[in-house]
Each structure stands twice: as C-alpha cells, then as structure tokens.
Symmetry: D3
C-alpha cells in the first residue's frame, strides 16, 4: 500500500524533494507537526499511524490524538519524529486521510448532537465516489452515528450489519406499496426488520395505516421520505402519522425520517417534540467540507526551525499519546 | 469491479430489493432518469457509462451528457433503459461517481472562469482521501484546470506530467532558500522547470531577487505561498515582486501564486491587474461540495410511472447522446 | 342612514364642534380636502359621495376621483365645498369608508397584477367581521378580482353569482371525496360548476385522477388547497397534477389553487409556469391594512386657511370630477 | 340576524354543502374546533356564542375561551358539538367575528402594555368602515383601552360616555385657538372636560400657555397632535410644554398626546419619562391585521376524523368553559 | 515659521533621524512621494509648497497637484526632490497640512454637489479648535462653498466679507423676534442683508409672516434653524413657509436653511423640490475626517529604493505641475 | 489672545449681535449653558475657563466639569453667568475649544480602554494641521495616553519628553536596518531608548534577530509597523517575533506595535494574548470626530427664558465646580 500512497499518489514536488535531498545525502531527523484549520472531531489518524508503521524505523516516534477525539483549530494533533526521507513523500496521503475523515466525523457529530439521543443512521454513500463510500460511513460512526447503509462500511466500522429499508424503485416496480411490502415480508430473512417506505404513491398517513393493516405484527416501522415537491417531512406530518397509527391500534410501529435531513432540521423536529424513532442522514454528512490539515517541520536535527509565520521548535503537546 | 461496486458497496436496501424482486420473478424493463440538485459541470458520467457497459445486455440503452458539459438543476443528464435487475444495485455507485466528480469539476470551472485565461493548476490532493486524490484532480481538469499535482492524476487525465515546485520541508532542511534552490537545480532533470518557493525564511521580494541572482538563466519562476500569518499573497505583493525582479534585470522569471486561493481571491488579483503567471488552487476545488444526484424510475414495462412529486413518463431529452 | 353615520357613529368631538359652532352662529362655507397616506387604488369614494348627497344643499359641490382609480400618497382625491355644519359630523364615516375600501382594493390590485391575467377570486369573507364581508369582497372586485365568495358581495359588485366549490366539512362528513363529489353532482343545479376539492383524504394527484374517473365529463375542475402541514400547494404540485390528469385523459379539467395565496406566492407560480386556471385569495386581500385618509380644511369663507404643516388654499386638482 | 349571517353572507359553498347533505339526508353530530393562526387576545367569541345560541338545539354544546383571554397560535379556543346542518352555514360569520375582533384586541393589548399604566383611548373609528367602527372600538376596550371616541362604541363597551376634545376643523373656522376654546367652554355641558387642541396655529408650547391663561381653572388639559410636517409629538416636546405650563403656574393642566402613536412610539415616551397623562391611538389599533381562524371538523357521529394535516379526534381542551 | 513647524512641532523621531544622518555626514538627494489613503479633493498643497519654499535650495524641485483638484486613493499628489536634511523634519507639518485641509475640502465638495447649484455657506467654525477655524472654512471654499462665517476665514479665502444672520442669543435677550429684527435693521450698515432667524419663540411659518410684515422691503430673508426637538427643518416646512409668505405678499423674501444639514439631508430637500435659497452647513464639513497622507522615499542618490510593500523608483506622475 | 478669539475669529453674526445690543443699550446678565451632543470625555474646558478669565468681571461666575471628566449626551457641562456683552462674541472660540479637544480625548479613552493596561502612545500629529498638532496630542493624554510624539505636545501635556523611534526614511537612506541602527546607537544621547524599526527591508522576524545580534544589550526594543501590503502587524506576527527573539536569547527586547492601530484591532491583540509592550496610535485618535457643543441662554436678567425646544431656567447642575 505504501508504494501506492507515495509514488504516483504523492504530490510530485515531494518526489522531487526526495530526489534532491537524497542526492545531497541530507536526511536529518525532523519533527513534523500536523494541525487542522478549524475545530472538529478527528478521524483518519489511526489510519495515518498505520501507514507510517510500515515505513518508520527503530527509534522513530509518532504521537497523536485518536479517532473520535475533539480538536481545536491550529492545535497540534499528530507529530512524527523520524529521518525525513523515510516518510516525507507520504505527506499527501497522511493529510488527505485526516482531511476527509475529520470532515465527515465532524459533520456527523453535529447532526448527532442535534438529535439529542434519537439514533442517526448514515445513508449518504450515494453522495460520494464509491472509492470512499465505506470510509465516509465509517467516519460517520466515529462521529456518533449508530448505523450505516452499506455492508462494506458496516464491516469497516465493526457493526454487525448495514441498515436499510426499501427503495422507491422496488415499490414503483410493484406499482403498489402494500403489494411490495407483502413481497418483501415473504422473502426477507427474519432478522431484517420490516420498515416500509410509505410516500411513493399515496399520502403518507393513509399509506402508513394501509401498510400496518396489511402486515400486522410483522411491521416494524414506516419510513417517511417525502419529496421536496410535497413539502418534505415535517414535525406536523410525523405527529399526524403517529396519531393515525395509534388511533388504528398500531402504537408499536416505529417512524424513520429521511430526506434532506440536517442538523438544523433535526433540531426543529426535536424542538417540536415530533415522535421520530430514528433519522437517516445523507448529504449533511456525506457532503461535509474536508478539514484542511497542515504539516509543518518544527525541528531539524535537534534544532528548532520553522518557516516564517510559525513558531520554531516542538512545543509540548500533552494531549497526544504515543502511537508508534 | 462491478462486483465490488454493487454487493458490499451498495446500499443494503438495493440488495434487498434485488432479492425480493428476483424471488417474485419481477424484472421489467424500466427507464431510470438521473438529475442533479443544482447547476454545474458534470463529471463522472463517462465512468458511470463504463460501469454499466459491463452489466447491460442486448437492446439495453444508456443516454447521457458527456463529462465537461454544463447542466442545469433538475435537468435529466443520464438515462438507462434496461431490465431493472441488471443494474439496480449499481445505483449507489452510479450516483456517487457523478456526485463527487461533478462537485469538483464545477468548483474548478468557477475558479478557472475567475482567472480569465491565467492558467490554474489543481494542487489539492492533500485535502482529500488518497483513494480519490487522482479522481479529484482529473475532475478538476474536466472543469478546466491545465495541470495537476500528482503523477497518478496526470495519467488519469491524459496529461504528460504532473506539475510541482518544491515543498517548504525541503527548504527548511537545507536551512536556506538559495542553497536549496541550487541543489534542486543540480539534481533535477532538465525538463523539470526550476520554480523556487520564496517565502520560507525571508521577505518574498528580497528572496526572489536573491534566488534570481543565484540561479541566473536557470530560474523559471518563483512561487509565492505566503502564510496567513504574513497576510497571504496579495495583488500588491505580486506587483512589488514583479517590479523588484524587473529592476534587477529578471523580467523573464514567472510568478506562481498559491495558498488559500479561491475564485473570489483570484478575481481580486485579476481586477487589480496583478501580473500572476499561474495559480495553484487547493481547497477551493478539493473541498467542493458534491452535487447530489437523484435517480428516478419514470417508466415500467413501457408504461409511465413515477412516485409522488415527479412527472411520470420518459420525456424527450434531446441534449443526451447515446452512450450504450 | 345619515343619522346613523353621524350621531352615535361620529367621533364625539365632531358632535361637540357642531354644538359649539351652532351656538355661536358660525357656519361658513369651507373647502375640505381629503388625501391618503400612501399610494393605492381608491375605493369607497362613490359611497362617500352618496352619503354626502343626502345632506348637502343648493350650490354645494363635491369633486373626487372614482372607485378604482389609482392615487398617490398625499394627493387630493376628494373635495367638499359646503357650509361646514351640513357635513362636518360625517367626517368619521367618510374617512372610514375610504380607508377600508381603499385598503382592500389596493391589496386586490397587487394580487391581480402578480397573476398576469390568471383570474383571481376573493375568498376571504371569513377573515373579516360579517358586517363588512360583502363590502370587502366588492372592494376586491374594484381592485380587479373577477369573482367573490358570498352572494351578498356578488349582488353588491354587480356579478351574476358568487363563486365556490365545496368545503372540507362536506367531504369529511361523507368520509370520501369521490362519494361527496358524486352526491354534489346529483343535487346541484346545472349552472353550478363541478369543482372538487381534492386534498382532504388522499394525495392530491391520486385524488384528482380518482375524481376525474368517477365524474367523467361532469367534472369542471379540481381545487388544490393543501394545508401547510403538507407543504401548501406548490408549482411542482400543480404541474404534476396537470400531468397525471392529462396522462389519464382528462386534459379539460381545470385547476383552482387556494390556501394562503398572496402576491409573492402567485408570482412564484407564474414564474415557474405552473398551469393554474384560477386563484382563490383570502387573507392577502381581506387582511389588507386600511389606508389612512386625512380631511383638511383649506379655505374658510373664501379665504385660504390651514393648520400648521399644511399649505393654505384650495389648489387646483384637475384629476377630480364633479360628483355633486 | 341569523338569516343574514348565513344565506347571502355565507360563502356560497357552505350553502351548496348544506343543500347536498340535506338532499342526501346526512346530518351527523360533528365536533368542530376553532383555532387561531397566531398568538393574541381573543375577542368576538362572546358574539359567536350568541349567534350560535339562536340556532342550536337540545343537547348541543359550545365551549370556548372568553373575550379578553390570551390565546396561543393553533390552540383550540372554541368548540361546537351539534348536528352539522344546524350551524354549518354560519362558519363564515363565526370565523369573521373572531378574526376582526381578535386582531383589534391584540393590537390594543400591545399598545396598552407599552403604556405601562398611562391610560390609552381608542381614537381610530375614522380608519375603518363605519359598519364596524363601534365594534373595533369595543374590541380595543376588550384589549385594555379605557376610552373610545364614538358614542356608539361607548354604548357597546358599557362605558358611560365617549372621549373627545375638539377637532382642528373647529379651530380653523374660529381662526384662533383661544377664541375657539372660550366658545367651547361657554357652550359645553359641565361634565365635558375642557381639553384644548394646541397645535393648529402656533407653536404648541406658546399656545398651551396662552390657552391656560385664557381659560384659567376651567382648562382640564391640552392635546398635542403635532403633524408629521412639524416632527410629530416627541418626548422632548411634552417635557417642554409641561415645564412651560408649570413655570406659568398651570401645573394642574394635563397633557394628551395623539397623532400616529403606536406601541413603539409609546415605549419611547415611557422610556424618556415624558409626563404624558393619556394617549389617543388611532391606526395602531384600527389597522390591526385580523387574526385568521380555522374551523376543523374533528369528529363525525362519534368517530375521530380529520382532513390530512390535522390530528383526528376531539382532544381535551381544559381551558374552555361551556358557553351553551 | 519653519522653525516652528519642524523643531518642537515635528515628530521627535524626525529630529533624531536628522541628528544621526548629520553626524554620519549622510545627506543624499532623495525623491519623496506623497499619496492619500482615499479619494477626495486636495487642499493644503499650496501651503505645503510655501513651507518648502522657505527651506529648499538651488536645483531642488517640488511637483504637485493644486488645491481643489480631485485625487484618487494612493495616487501620487506631491513629490519633493532635494537633499533629505533640508526638509526631512518638515514631514509632520506637510502631511498634517494636507490631511486636515483635504478632509474638509472633500466633505465640502460632497455637500456642494448634493445641493445641485443652491449656494452653501460654511457655518462650522464653532465645531473646531479656534486655531484652525479659519483654515477649515477656507478649505470649505476650496471644496465649493460660496461663503464662510468668520471674517478671518473670509480674508484667508479671498472673499469680500463673512456671511451671517443673527444668533438665538440676541433674540432671547430682546425677548421677541420682531423687536430684535427691528433693532438689527436700525443699527446695521446698509450692506448687511437683513436675514432674520425665525424659530426662537414661535412657529416658523407664523413668525416669518410677522417679521415680513414688520420689516417690509427691508427684509432680505428668513433663516430656519428649527431644533431637533421640533423636528428640524423639513422640505415640507420650507414649502409651507414659502407658501404662507407668498400668500401674504412677500414673494421676494428668501429662505436660508441650517441646523444639522448634511449631504443626505440636502439631497432630500433637492429631491422634494423645497424652495431653499441657501444652506448653512456646520458639522458636515467641520467634522470631516482628515485624509491620511503617506510620504515615501522612492529614490536615494539617483537609485530606486523603497521599503517593503512599495514599488521602488520615482514613476512618472504627469498630472503634477512643478511648484518649485 | 482674546482679541484674536473674538473679532475676526468669531462668527460674524456674533459681532453684529454685539453691535445691535450695544446700540440699544441692552446688556443683561444672562446664564448660558453648554452641553455636548454625545457621551464622551471632556477636554478643552480648562482652556475655555482661561479664555473667559480674561474678560469677565466682578461677580461674574463660571462653573464647569474639568478636563478628563466623562460627560453624557446633553448634560450641562459648563455654565457662564455674566453680562452678555462681556463674553458673547467668544461663543465660537469656546465651543470650538471644547469640540475638538473632547473629540480627541474621547477617542483616546476608547483606545486606552481597549488596551487593558498596555501603554498607548499618541503618534498622530502628522494627521492634523500643525496648528493643532500639539493640542490634539495633549487631549490624547487627557484621554489616557502615556506618551506623545512631538516635543511641543510633551511640553503642553507636562510630560518630560516626547516618544519616538526612527522613521523609515532614515533606514532607507542608510540602505540597511542594521547599519542605521548602529549609527543611531552611536549618536543618540544615552537617555534615548534604542527602539529599532524592523520592517523596512526584510521580514520582521528575521530583522529583529539581526538587530538584536548587532546591538546586543543596547537594544531596548523593536517596532513593528508592517504595511498593509504585507498584511499589517498581526497577533501571530508579534507572537512569532517574540518567540524568535527569545530563542535567540533576547528576551529583554520589547515590542512596539504601530500602523493603522485602532480600538478594534487592539482588542484583537489583547484577546489573542499577543505580547505587545506598547502601541503607537495615529489616525484612530487624530481623526476623531469633534463633539458638537451647544450654548443656550437659559436665563435673562434673572428670569427663566429659552428658545423653543429647550426648557427655560438654569436648573441645578451639581457636578459642576466653580472655575471663576
């Protein structure tokens, strides 16, 4: 993997620096510090340490926070002390790993905090390139999500299984929500919860009761994913669906809310006391802005050094644990 | 690849829909339309067609725009007509490919347009996970950038080589910019342009003249990457460096500007008439928000159908070319 | 009527001024000018002239604009020249008649202009006290509305009949929209258009098609009055209902839009090209702010006079026609 | 009165619903709940109960808040339980009575609260149609005003008499404020307080002292109604008039302030400690926006029912008292 | 004068630089350029040249714009070429002369332009220290004012006399405006225009007519200076005073407006078509923010030189004329 | 001096009032009160009392606050009781003295409070006309500054000497900061602190260390005055210079910050904990808006009197001390 992370994947100027320094025979031990541009939740640091583990040698050290820790803007979160040529070309990969992961974890944390204890599932693999879909969902778990949508992410995050209901496509092919739900119920393993998407053809409140009548005790929940053209899911809609299910004797059926859900909208549901059982969140996590990290050399061959604008020297960083 | 893009990488509910429909023996030909949430430049559509090429069969068709085309919010940009079970599980991968790629290409286009003809190089691989670094840079080229920072991206984008200067790290290790520049000049191949980073130890204007004096005709350019603690690069700084280089007889040395550059700041350089020869852009492209795409079934077995909120039927989409 | 408009209905200080002046034997001919505080469409001026017609005498004159004319802030719109004691106590009633009427007509004009030719019906009698319900709706017609909701207003505005569809209450009592629509069709006179309210129990698009199938050629239109809890009526909803009706072969069924409609929202429908056949507008007209009018004496016994802040003398007012 | 409130005054669709239901023989007992769109002070509910009292029958009930109570947005404030055909056509009149009345009472409450105990008189009959002038002023008393301008309103609100001073018109006809004031004093009954308007011809401070010298002990107060062209009444003006009256030995003369007074301006007077004895308020109450009320059927023949967007069933409403 | 402008009036560091350079025997010919921080009208440049005239020697040159010229932010407006020690200590005085003068002239220009040809008199000596009162008023004339309030300023600006009416103090001592005006008329020379201040005791419109009746043909004009407690002078007030004077046969009496007048308020008078004959402006000119000037050495002993941030060398400045 | 402050320096209308009153033989004892338009720190009142001391006579009194006292908008801060003709013509000078002085003192106070104990030096003589340069700096000391830049101001403010470092001009002439610093050190008296300006040619951090190495124990401090083209002085720059000086063993060298410094920027330095030893402030004090003062006659010959808008009579003013 290392070969792939440096070589062609590295910024070419790192390769050129490597060649120049090697030709000059210059390979001092340096201290390189990493810090983020803004506050957040770090993720990707464990992977970064793993990458370094494959290249560092005797006496080299790596200190850092751990995935899931909060961090402040410009705080030192990761420090490598080693001969430069051993790891210099990995700078691109190390920074990128932390940047994307921390962006996703930070966004997830914000959403989860807004939900005040209502479980949040990360549903947004479809909004990022498939090469990082599972990594994004795993970072969301680092930030506090309790479930993910893809089996690959579930494996990466150490969850027993992925979470999911049923897509609009299936219901459209059946042409009726109740027929689709009954078929789903017939063919799925017992451990797959029967959560039926109820906004495809009919008003959500009407369809929820129809589905509950049809599946009876088998029905675990309904998912509301009302499109923007119908006003999205609102606290009032959740309250009404709950009331109509209860009036019809289906108080045990849960309600999952999805569709353009973000921290601000979750806060509205919470403030309104809407009886949501879980939220599915897509873009609000998947589209998180990466958090830019900077790597600065602070010491060269035991002597404090820094570029203009930075304080020379490796200052104590007591929050960091030794990782290598 | 396909196995990897569906299976574990797919949202689990697509796998469940597949199982349910297959068990029911339901596999009608459907028309699935894809549209973006907002205006932009599409990228990822060629890759999406390639993914589908591996699974579709006789008589199935795919129409679409091409990478680099502009698109409007909610415009149909991609259409698949095929039996659902052949491609349904790929929905996650298809959407994600377009989402990330189009986000990056759109941001790149915005930056490139602001630059009014001054070349822009994508420098931001370090701000995204290494699994998508090259894909991001290639999308930036689709959006109009003329160069990329990593060899992997150069290959993917069909460019002869990656672009780069030298990192602060190398200069810090040498302890002096002129010494570092001379070493770089000694060891690099002839086809590597000598562009020296001049903000590490001294004032940029002073260092530019020192480097020009030292390298003479070998010097191709200087890169200004002033940190925010020193006020970033400004139009006035570029003008002054240009003037001092010219006064010292180095009118042929070019000036590369980098460091937190985005469309708004580029527009300021252009409006002020600052003599920039090229821009290096990182976060402004790498951190682009993905553009969410939606895939809607509009026809099932020849009959118009759609979920609530969408118009049933496959309306004509004359901008689309047949891709498969 | 006059007795009622002055005496107890007049501001008591007018009665006291009357008594004082009469006791002093002071009753000069005065010129009293009326002007509005802001731009608008005047309404109530015809009624004001009628009130004065019952009390003025030989040689007295009244000039004014006419109902439906536009007026500018502080422009003279009405002028009475007569002995003061003949009409002074009517000041409260004259001002009030113009204030309320002009407020409503002005709001109606704004709504009608936003609709760019799509007919607007005033539906807001329920938002004002029943003593002025018909007057409000008649003022809306002065402002440009083509229909009203109450028979009393239709009579007052010279329209052949009131406009209306059916209330939610009736459909709730039937328990099903189609049953209610069929009963309505059975019992209404032939000249009552069959316009069915389609948002009570089911999704509007679904219900529209159900109703169209049930009533066939009898159906004139559907009314969309989606509650705010379901996102109100949107341009997208109208387009979709239109498309689904057309797909089902009911292209001749019209679409009426109501529910919290105002000029800004109408402008959105128009800008989006939503195929609305008419709008029903309530609060946006009924809740219009009255336009305050001021009555100023400008001449007493032939001599220019005015209070501080006003220019003495009856300046020419060429837009005014002689009403009495 | 009932005939007039339903029949031609009702929205025609209520008449049509009546005819349809009657023809079908459908007349179930329903529960109809009324709620306002926004917070406020309710007024008109007593009149609404009176209207219903004339049509309801044995066993029918009406519950409600009482005029002057505060209410919250969407709170149930009024509930009718009766066969629908007995009262359904009155919906327009019931809603309109509450809408206008509550709008005025709520605005009055806001003004009165701003005045922190300084009495407020409603002076705005001239700003609304004479058919509702007295109703508006009576609603202002419900909201907290202590006086009204018209005798009709005084009767309706149970006040001993209307409040008033003298109009500019009378002073203009006399041509001098002191002459007018002396004539007023000669001819008015003893129980009419001598409050003289002092801004017609001269500076208010100068005129106040002139009037006080002329009327001596007879003078009860002065009214400041400075036009906007002279900067309106300001806290500084009131303080100066008070000081000049006091310096001249007229400390017992009160000061009434009027002219474009609203809650915000009253708050400025109060904050500045201006010695105002009472405020006369016109447009700020008279032009209040009506509060839209909605009437929803929640139960039909004993069974919970509601349209989409509303919770079915008559939930407990413990703040309501039985009115019928 | 020079001794006073350098020595104790100079920033002490200039004195120290003088001593150091003199001790080292360093006195090269330098080019010093002056530029302003923002756009404006320059004033003080003529005085600056006069100051330098007293110290420069053979062959030394000064180029510059002239008082009253417009200038752009950062444009070179003044250039000295001379041995440094001859003039270096004058930097504080030269910059300050331009800073204050240009601030006042620029503000005056803004006010004068707003007045669209109506004459503006500078009345603000009382708002600045008496040591610069006349200099401020003279700068206002440079900016476009046609009159000043103090004889000292009139002399400095080359005007035949100062402009003025009468102060409130005089009228207060007389106790009546008409008595004061008659006394003023009795004792002033014939060439002093009789312009009477009319807001001291009575309403301005009333007092204007009283004064016009009393002074007859002697009256040249009235000044309106209404205090903020009475709403300041407004366009409506001017129109009314004009109308009442005209109605009384005094069409030839002019109207001067003062009291808190600035460019924004003048623009309102102009837009409203108020018949103002001249404006008296105080704080809007007197309180103008100085325009900071910077003096930069650009050439030393014939060689381009500049501090960081500035372009070395004396670039051509074709707008400048040779002053010395 | 008095002759100069009245006569030609007075508003001409005061001279005319003097002539008129004298001709009429009117010279009553009056009370004239002075108040400011806004809150602030008063300065100029001691000078005003001194001016009056030269003209008042037996039995005349002056009361006032003292320079440096805070004052509130419209509070009486100064009161003269004397025959009018003795001092009336001085109104222009008295008001102007307080206006300019209080503006500067108030701005200085704001800056000093932002600095939370870090000393502030007034450096802005170059931004005001030299006739008031020393007066401005003395007012800054009244407001809380501990130093001034000109010897004249130091004398006026009772300070032992002026404060200053060295100008860019001197360093530019030397062509090198270290050479200039060494020459300065050679020639200055021992009591002149060696504070070297370090931003002329090189990066401030680099130059600071160079200068410290060259001057050794002689160096008292460095001044940072980075131009806006290099991002001005920032908290980060100060911290880094501090750190690099400390690393090089020069912990005793102080840091002076100047260049566009105002209260808001000082607050940022303080909030960021930047180790600034003193601030030099120019425009933020020198360009302060004067505070307009008004002088009102409140009593004439023992009797309360005032113009419209003001309360007649000399109310108690217990904060004022007797000055004459």
């Amino acid at each position: 993997m290392i070969r792939y992370l440096e070589g062609p994947a590295a910024d070419v100027y790192l390769n050129r620096a490597y060649a120049t320094l090697a030709a000059e025979g210059l390979d001092p031990v340096v201290v390189m510090d990493f810090f983020p541009e803004r506050d957040g939740v770090i993720s990707g640091i464990d992977a970064a340490a793993e990458i370094l583990g494959a290249v560092l040698g005797e006496g080299d050290t790596v200190h850092g926070l751990r995935d899931g820790d909060t961090m402040q803007a410009r705080e030192i979160v990761f420090r490598v002390r080693a001969p430069y040529l051993r790891f210099g070309r990995l700078e691109t990969a190390l920074l990128g790993t932390m940047a994307s992961g921390s962006g996703w974890a930070t966004a997830a944390r914000e959403v989860v905090e807004a939900a005040r204890g209502i479980p949040v599932i990360a549903f947004g693999a479809r909004h990022v390139h498939p090469a990082v879909g599972a990594i994004m969902e795993r970072s969301a778990v680092v930030g506090g999500c309790v479930g993910v949508a893809t089996p690959a992410a579930a494996a990466l995050a150490g969850l027993p299984s992925a979470s999911g209901t049923m897509p609009h496509a299936m219901i459209l092919i059946f042409g009726d929500t109740v027929s689709a739900a009954l078929a789903f119920d017939r063919h799925m393993d017992d451990d797959v919860p029967r959560i039926v998407l109820v906004d495809t053809f009919k008003d959500e409140a009407e369809e929820s009761v129809r589905v509950a009548e049809a599946l009876g005790q088998h029905l675990a929940g309904v998912r509301l994913d009302t499109p923007v053209e119908r006003g999205r899911v609102t606290p009032d809609l959740v309250k009404e669906v709950r009331a109509r299910l209860d009036l019809a004797g289906h108080a045990e059926v849960t309600i999952v809310v999805s569709g353009g859900v973000d921290a601000a909208r979750i806060a509205e549901f919470v403030a309104a006391g809407a009886p949501v059982d879980s939220f599915g969140v897509g873009m609000a996590i998947a589209a998180a802005r990466p958090i830019a990290f900077t790597a600065d050399i602070k010491e060269v061959a035991g002597e404090p050094r820094a570029k203009r604008g930075r304080i020379p020297g490796a200052v104590p960083a007591p929050r960091l644990a030794q990782l290598i």
